[in-house]
């Protein structure tokens, strides 16, 4: 019977009406920080990190943005400040991606932070924002990574991703379409997590760099892919508009 249970779980991962790849309401897609990894501030030179929250939503929705306090046990977690007028939109044919920038002051060197960094090499601080539109609400959290000076990597690349197939503005089949992406500027020893998003249809395996889109509705279709570095937290996305026929 456990087999049946596992089977049910597996099938649930691949099917269902509510599919994670389909952008039909407000949906977070990722967070980028810059610099990717920080070293502690010093009293003389406080450092600021820029945190960019990304979300996708169908057209016609505007959201309020607020920071919210994550119930963190780490007492050193500083607050974040949302930059006024930082909401930016990038429109595609079937949905829009918008970004919100916030800033955080990197915690200063202290005895407790030094002890933590000596033990672990790095530590994380968790931040969050809340997007709200009436009853629709999305809470997004991410980490700011702070590393000891002698352990902070200096050569972390900002990863990029591109969609190789299909080509932007091309015509595709409504039945089966090959999806293929390419990750560029990868960091050694890093693992990357892929996520596909679409305006219609179903993605066979949304975590695979090479997969299939099926049953796209005839007409314009937007295909989005994101990538996130598991260790560094580096984030990038790419999208194409195609026409399904």
């Amino acid at each position: 019977m456990k087999i049946l249970f596992l089977l049910a779980l597996c099938i649930a991962c691949g099917g269902g009406d509510s599919r994670p790849e389909k952008i039909e309401k407000l949906r977070a897609i990722g967070v980028a920080t810059s610099p990717i990894i920080q070293t502690p501030s010093t009293p003389d030179s406080p450092k600021t990190a820029t945190i960019t929250f990304y979300a996708a939503a169908p057209f016609g929705k505007n959201f309020e943005v607020r920071p919210f306090e994550v119930n963190a046990i780490n007492p050193l977690t500083p607050g974040i400040t949302i930059k006024a007028g930082s909401i930016k939109y990038q429109d595609f044919s079937q949905f829009r991606i918008f970004s919100v920038q916030a800033s955080a002051v990197v915690p200063q060197e202290s005895a407790s932070l030094s002890a933590l960094l000596a033990e672990r090499g790095s530590t994380t601080y968790r931040f969050g924002i809340k997007l709200k539109n009436g009853e629709e609400e999305e809470k997004i959290v991410a980490d700011l990574i702070v590393a000891a000076k002698d352990q902070a990597p200096t050569d972390i690349k900002t990863t990029k991703i591109t969609i190789l197939t299909p080509i932007d503005k091309s015509q595709i089949s409504t039945e089966t379409l090959q999806l293929r992406a390419n990750i560029e500027d990868t960091n050694e020893g890093e693992t990357y997590k892929i996520a596909w998003f679409v305006s219609s249809g179903q993605v066979k395996n949304r975590r695979a760099i090479e997969t299939e889109l099926k049953e796209a509705q005839a007409g314009p279709v937007t295909i989005l892919v994101t990538v996130r570095g598991s260790k560094s937290g580096t984030f990038a996305y790419s999208a194409v508009d195609v026409t399904a026929m």
């Binding site: 649930a12 991962c13 099917g15 959290v141 975590r207 695979a208 996130r228």
Partner: protein, 740 residues
Amino acid sequence: MAEKFVAFFIAACCISLHPLLIFADDNDVSIHIRELGTGSSLSKVEVTLGNTSLQSDAKGLVHIQRPKEDEILTFHKNGFTNLDIPFGALESTDDGCQVFLEPKLVDGDVVTVIGEKRPTIATKVLNQDEIKKTAPGGDPVMVATLLPGVQSGGFDKRLIIRGSGPDDSVYLIDQLVLPFIFHPIGNTSIIPDSLIDDITFSSGNFGGQYGNATGGVLVVNTKSMIPKKSEYEVKLNVPMYFSAFAQTPIDDSSAVSAYIRYSTIQYILPSVLKSLEKKNYSDSLTVIPYFGDAHAQYLSLSDEGKEKTTFLSSFDGLKAAFPSDFSSSEDGQSSVDFRTSFYSLSHNRQKRLTKDWTYNTTPNFLRTKDQTQFLGNRVNVESNSINIPYELSYRRSKREKDYLGAEISQSRTFIDVTVPKFQRDAVFPDFEDGQTESRQISVDATVLSTWYSGSFVLGDFDVEPGLRLDYNNFMQKSSLDPRTNFRYHLNEDATLKAAAGIYSKRPEYDELDKTFGNPELGYEHSIHYAAGIENKWGTLWTSDLQIFRKDFYDTVRTDSQGSLQNSGSGQSHGFEVFLRRNQTSRLFGWVSYTYAVSKERDTKDGYYIPSNYDRRHMFVMAGDYTFTSTLSLSGNLNYQTGAPYTPVADVYYNANIDRYQPQIDASKRNSERLGPSMLLSSYLNQKLLADTWTLNLRYGFENAALIRSPRSVSYNYDYSEKRGVSDLPFIPFIELGAVF
């Protein structure tokens, strides 16, 4: 004269060389009378030919003067259908003729007597027929799920007894403690019905001979009968497994048996998956489960007792790869690799020392191995143990006995783990991407146990005191558990009973590790209280009413700092009603109802919440009706109210793992409840008799939902939609077994 002597000499030689030649005369014929379906020779069969009446001998042979072809022979034996047949229709063999008599159902209210067992007030004993015919899914051990106080159904068949978790109970085969009794994959038990004599199940208040359990005890007693002839059985259970069994007598007092079972589901599942998988995505999903088990046993009986040497082995495995949000690899697949196995070699010896003294011992070696890999994490556990239990019993009178036992267990457990590192300041666990840590742990433990239990009769009052002492040298801790049962015989048909006792269980060895657990942990305990009344209603019906209460304390819980402590406690209480129709040739069955409340708390000053096993009402009806000697109908009806679950309080998108994660409000743990379910299972047991072999057919359905409710709750990707994880599906099945 010389010619006569030579003729006599030749005749004598012929007789001595071949006894059948005595009937070389055309006027004599030998008839071999056998049982249809097995081919066994039948003795004492009354054979009538005209006015002549004869009886078959011990070899099933009867010798008659050759009648005319159309003369009617009548064969009669109690328990078999009478047969009238013309002589000419008898089947000819090289040695004469043979005839097969068909067993018939003997009507009447003769109750099958269940053997004497060590008395405790919450014990139920089920005999082989009850087990074979009513067992859900055709699995004998599963019959325990139909008894009062036991939660059943769902995907996990392990026993949840009177509010105790599935790991709080112990399973034994004879005196050997098994690491598990159900295949974790196949969900059948690891013990074939061909090996089982009866099953003894205690839902609490068990005797001092059982330790390391705070829930219940399930004991499978293996057969102690020497078969009359060699017997072979092959069985195909569609879709789960194929098995083969053989037993043969060596002589009048010893026999050997062997059994092997191997799963077939791994050959069937891929095609099922292909047809079930939506949108033809079956190539993304790989599930390869397999399981099997085997045993071999040597049985020897003597006037002084019996000896059994048993080899038992079981293995399960599952390899699965499927698209998953947990995946961090470019193919988007997650994988699971799970393997578990054990084997044991034991020698059980029960011997009468004097008229009143007997002993029972089962020295055994047990090896278990578990390997689990999931998302780059692994937990491997290997254990070897030698256990020597020894129990002396002394019979003071017919109803009074003393049992004094001791056991020494020496085990070496090796644990190799790579798991996510727990960080105290992590609000959201990043399971798949978080830091991991590895550790190898080796545990050498010696456990010494001793126990006493006895029965004293004081007029109409029986007292059964017991005491168990365990010492674990790895923990450097001991437990002392007094237990007592009382019975008061109101009259011949009614007995009042009550019991109380303390039960202890050690933490798992990985919980005692200084990195992952807490070396200071002590035993978990529970106190069982029960009282009730047993009634006989004539010879056919018995009833048992019990009220019970279990107090759990020192249970292992994780504190707010993430470390393990003996800080948990809990309680379950309720009552059980059990009405049994004793087995006769046509009918047996039982009805049970359990009302139970189960609650727990993590700390001594915390507040109680419903436990995960808090199901308030359970009703079971199970039984079998035999139409003919070759056809019977079995079934069970199972009603249970829903278990509690914890609602999701809030949801966050965690960019670190690109997934939504729920947050739980600790004050609302198990605050909501699933709906009730009522499932019906029914099977036909049919025998098709050939001359010397039988085809056993068992077919029917399981889990026809009269009321269907979710077993648990699942959510969509962002927790905005709640869905029920459905109960077990309707399962038709067929089992074919050929017995030779």
